[in-house]
Every structure is written in structure tokens, then in C-alpha cells.
Symmetry: C2
Subunit: 339 residues, 2 copies
Amino acid sequence: MTRSSVRLKDIADKTGFSVNTVSLALRGSPRIPEETRQLIRTIAEALNYLPNHIAQSLVSRETKTIGLILTDITNPTLMRTAQAIELELADRGYGTLFATSNNDPEEEIRALEMFRSRQVDGMLIYPRSHRKLDHIRKIRQSNYPIVLLVGDPDSGIDAVCVDERRGAYKATRHLIDTGHRRIGIIDSANPLGNLEKSEGYLQALSEAGIAFEPVLTADPQGHSVMKGYWAMDQLMSAANRPTGVFAANDSLAIGALRWCQKNGVNVPRDVAIIGFDNIEFAEHAATPISSVNYAVDIVTELAVERLMRLVAAKDALPDPRVTMIEPDLVIRESTTGRS
Amino acid sequence: MTRSSVRLKDIADKTGFSVNTVSLALRGSPRIPEETRQLIRTIAEALNYLPNHIAQSLVSRETKTIGLILTDITNPTLMRTAQAIELELADRGYGTLFATSNNDPEEEIRALEMFRSRQVDGMLIYPRSHRKLDHIRKIRQSNYPIVLLVGDPDSGIDAVCVDERRGAYKATRHLIDTGHRRIGIIDSANPLGNLEKSEGYLQALSEAGIAFEPVLTADPQGHSVMKGYWAMDQLMSAANRPTGVFAANDSLAIGALRWCQKNGVNVPRDVAIIGFDNIEFAEHAATPISSVNYAVDIVTELAVERLMRLVAAKDALPDPRVTMIEPDLVIRESTTGRS
DNA sequence: TGATCGCGTATTATCGTTAATTCAAAACGG
DNA sequence: CCGTTTTGAATTAACGATAATACGCGATCA
């Protein structure tokens, strides 16, 4: 066993004390006199001892590990989230086990089982769909701490997230307020997906007495710049073009903007464009793009805090609570210059 | 213990067999007759049994977990890498434990220790600096499987990575070939950092007989778009402006491009700009930006494969090997139209 | 002076699993 | 028909740590 590491037993053998004494000494028990403790600590240091966290977990019945499931990472915002979460958890002494579902329900379940098998103390999940949360709810109901990063007030599962419906509402409303009546939307239309943004869009339209036109809807089937480009192409090929477009994220918005550039359509004069997430590149696009903005750090901090509270609740979990963070708008050139 | 999960013992009690028999049955041992096996499997299924991976790890002395340390994630390319690695590892039945060093040496060491303590079977590391690898080398020398994602042929540690020196050389060379003689570089100048790109830049210059001018160097102190913007500002305030600029990554390049836009400097007529990493946004910038491109998937696949080989080597690790992937150029509008 | 207390440490049990060994009863063979 | 194999299991011992308990011994106390 070349790769063997130092165990308490090795220190015990070296010092002549028993394994238990060594364990107590290293953990600073008052039952061990100072002198002995020093000796043991010195030897442990010299041997470069690190406690076997696996063995500790087995006895303490907690792994100090949280499982994080994301759909996929090509979305820069999800990644910022991931890093912020890792940081937040590391600060609290937790490790982060990480898995992606790739938007595949099977893989999501696989990840869930893998985490449970590895005895993570809790999970943070960006679910593939929040119409189908049964498999997650089942785990929560067996008292497993879970916090979702996309919320649904009725899901019966804790969640901390951005109020996407409200963000989309605000974005659409902004377009309406700046004089637009024909407003297109670029967003996934998957009925199993997350429809908040579409709902916010529709709400703003109906409030303003604008009829919804399916032809002003484009499903990008993804969230890359190119997907946005082609979705915009579809929108703009309508007989009666939109004068404003809300894109469900900034990559799509950049793609839409790109289409305009290539086709001699001026932004914002001919078409106004607003995105979602306010990534750095939105601000620095050819025409700086307006976007729905929110504090990633706050979302992750609250999510982690909530999860920690669930983990700490030894017996029964408190009733689920859904916290929505209100986003705001960052208005840039892509939606100004009209009235 | 409300949160307790089902153990082998529970199945044993339910079926009347011993714990060991249940264990063998579930693992499909031929020593258990078919009938018994079926019975046990059915009960296990009914109880929703999942093996406790922690306990398994303690016995098998392997955790089927790999530790991944990145510097930070704001870099989209690093993130693509992270996801590709997670996928690759999941395919091979490994979990991914994830930590970021935030470019802080202390945190890097902390992550290293945390991983060792958690008994990960191996580590993939994007080191903060590959001038100071002593702490990592020490672990590798105690037979711990480690593969770096930034390579140094002399580090004594395995690595699979992009040949950044070569990429920078090619980028600079491209500028030279298109007629530029005054070529600026935007890259971190931290002598403890990763200097490959600067070296490639210098090599191309000297090969072309162009003298290096420190005034054509700007340290962005980060890698965001804004950092690139201000670095470009610094470069362009020189008495004798560069006509071509190589930026160490695409965010910086986009920042540089942005500066030009805002200051009435035409790209590529007045200044040519080339970046590194070929992220999606480079292609879709106001002026599509040329960039150094490489196959992320190949790098990660080779890195994981190498790591698996090290993990499989039970006794002594094979001699370290460094694999460099040759990058190529994607030429776009930002560096054409001159010569 | 013998019982009691405290101190410092050792011993034993435990976490949930796998591996090695043992064992009882049935099946077989000469 | 008795000894040997085979079969189907149970028993015991790890893995590396923590927790609970036990123990020897000097000091304290009635």
C-alpha cells in the first residue's frame, strides 16, 4: 500500500499512547494534559497527519458536503452562481459535490441518487423543469434538506431564486413604456420548462391591453448566441415585424443584436432589444444591451443560508419557504432613443 | 433519527438473512442462489435502499471521487472545462468535488488538504501559478495522482493542457505576418503567474527581429472586459501607438475593442486585435475578433484519461508526462484588411 | 485506614459496508 | 454407511475514526 496515508494508529504507535488518547489530544480535549497534547501534536505534524474525513463521516453521520446540481454550465450566470455557492459553502466548512443534468431528466435522477448514496448533508438544485418535481419532492419529504434555485411557490420545496416572472414583466413593461406595441419574445417554449419569463411577458402585454400574437414568439431551442441569432431571424421574417424584443437571456439578446447588425436593422431605432441576467458582455456589446439585473451573491447567500438552516434542523424540517429576489432593470442604449 | 436511511441491516431483519448474505445478494454473488437473491433484491427495492458510499469507501479505500481545483470561474473557458470534466468523470463513475482557489495560494493549499482529507482518488488542478508548485509536487511525490491543466515540462507533475506559448506565438506571428511591427500585449505580468503567453509573444517578436518595448505591455490585473478596456487605454496612450494588440483572453480583447469603439479608433484599420480562447462572444463582438482556438473537449478528455491511468497504477506512479495540445488561429475581421 | 474521588489513559463498542473464515447440513462417493 | 465434498448460509474481522465506559493509582476525606 504505497499510497497509504497516516492514521491515528501510526501516531499512537510512535508515541506509545492509545489511538483514543491521540484522537482526544488532536481535538484539544481538556482531559489530556498539556504536555502530552504537545507531544502528540508535534508527532502528528511531523507525520503530516490529516484526519480521514470518510471515517469521521461514518461515525458522525454527516459528511459536511453539499451536492450541487445544475442543468448545464454554458450559461455564464449559472456558473457565477456555482462559484458563489462553492465559496459560500467553503466558508462554512462544507465541500461541494457537483453534477450537471444536461437538461436530461434521467441524469437529474442519477445525480440525485449519487448524492444520496454519498450521503451529502443537503442539496442545492437548479431543476431541469419545475413542472416535474415529484422525484425531488419525494426526497424532501423523507426529511432531506433541499433548496431549489428556481422557485415555485406551490412545489412544497424550499427555494431561493430570482423572480423571473417579475423580471420579464419589468422588461416587457419597459418596452411598452418606451412606446412599443409590437413586442417579440425569444424564450424556450418547452411546456415542461420554466415558463416564468413567458408568463411575465404575457402579463405585461395584457395589462397594457396588447393582444398576444404567436407570430411574435420564437423558441431558440437553446441559449447560445447563435440560437438567438436564428430566433431573431424568425421573428423578423414576420410580415409585421416587432419593434421591441425581449430575450430570455443575454446570450440570446446578443445573438438578436447580431442579426440586426448583419441585416442593416438599427438598434434601438428600428428594434429595441432587452435581455436577462446582465452579464458583462451585454454591457459591452456593439450596442450596449439593456438587461434584467439581480444580485447573484444575494441569491446564493440566501440559498445557502436556508439550506444550512434545514441541515441544522435535526428532526423535522420546517415548512418549505420560497424566497423570490426582485430583479431590476439596467437600461442601456439598446432600448433608448425612442419615446 | 428521522433522517436515517435504509441499511443492509434493515433488509437483513426484514428477510431473516444475515447482513452479509444481503450484501452478497445485492452485489450478485454466485454464492447466493437465484431465489434468495430475487427475494432480497425485491425487499431492497421496496425499501428504496441505496448503499452508503461512505462506508463502502472506508472499506474499499477508494472514494470514486476526483477533486477539481480551479482558480476562479469568471473565465468562461475554465467553466466549459469544468463541465466537460464533470461529464467525463461521471461517465466513468466518478464524482467531482469542486473548489476554487480564487488565485490565493492559501486557499489553494486549503483545497488541496480538504481533498486529501476527503480521500479523493485523484485531483485535477488548474494551479494558481506554475512557478510555485512545490506544495503540489510534494503530494504527487507521495504517490497521489494529480494532473495539472496548465503544464510545465519540468514540473515533475503530469499535465495536459493547451500550449499557451505556442498559441501566443501564433497570434503574434499572425499580426507580424499581416504587416504589423508595433505590437502590444495585454497580459498579466505577475512573475509568479503563468508567463507562457508573454514568452510566446516575445519569441515571435525576436524571431521577426522586432525589439521588445516595455511601453507596449499592459498588465490588466484581472481578466474582465473592463480590465481589458483600461489596459487598452494604457497601451494607446503611448506616444507611439501599437498597430496590433494581442490580448491574453477574449474578455480582455473585447474590452480592448470596446475602447477603440469609444475612442474612434477603427478596428482593424487603425489597430488589429487578437484574443485567446475563442469564446462565443468573440465571434459576435461588434467587430468579430480573431482568437486562438483549441479543443476544450480533447484537453479534458486526455486529462481525465491520464488521471485515470494514474489512479489505476496501484503501486508506483508512472513517470510524469506533459501533453501539450497545439492551438490554432481563427481569423476574423479584427485582424484582416491590412497589409 | 479504608472508602471515595479525580486524573490520565486504555479498552470496548459503534458507524455501514466488504472480505475472510467458519460452520451446519445435505449430497456424494467408494 | 461413514468420510468427504458441496452448498448456503452465519460469524468474525477489518476500514479509520469517535463515544462511552472501564481501570489503575495517587490524593482526599471521614
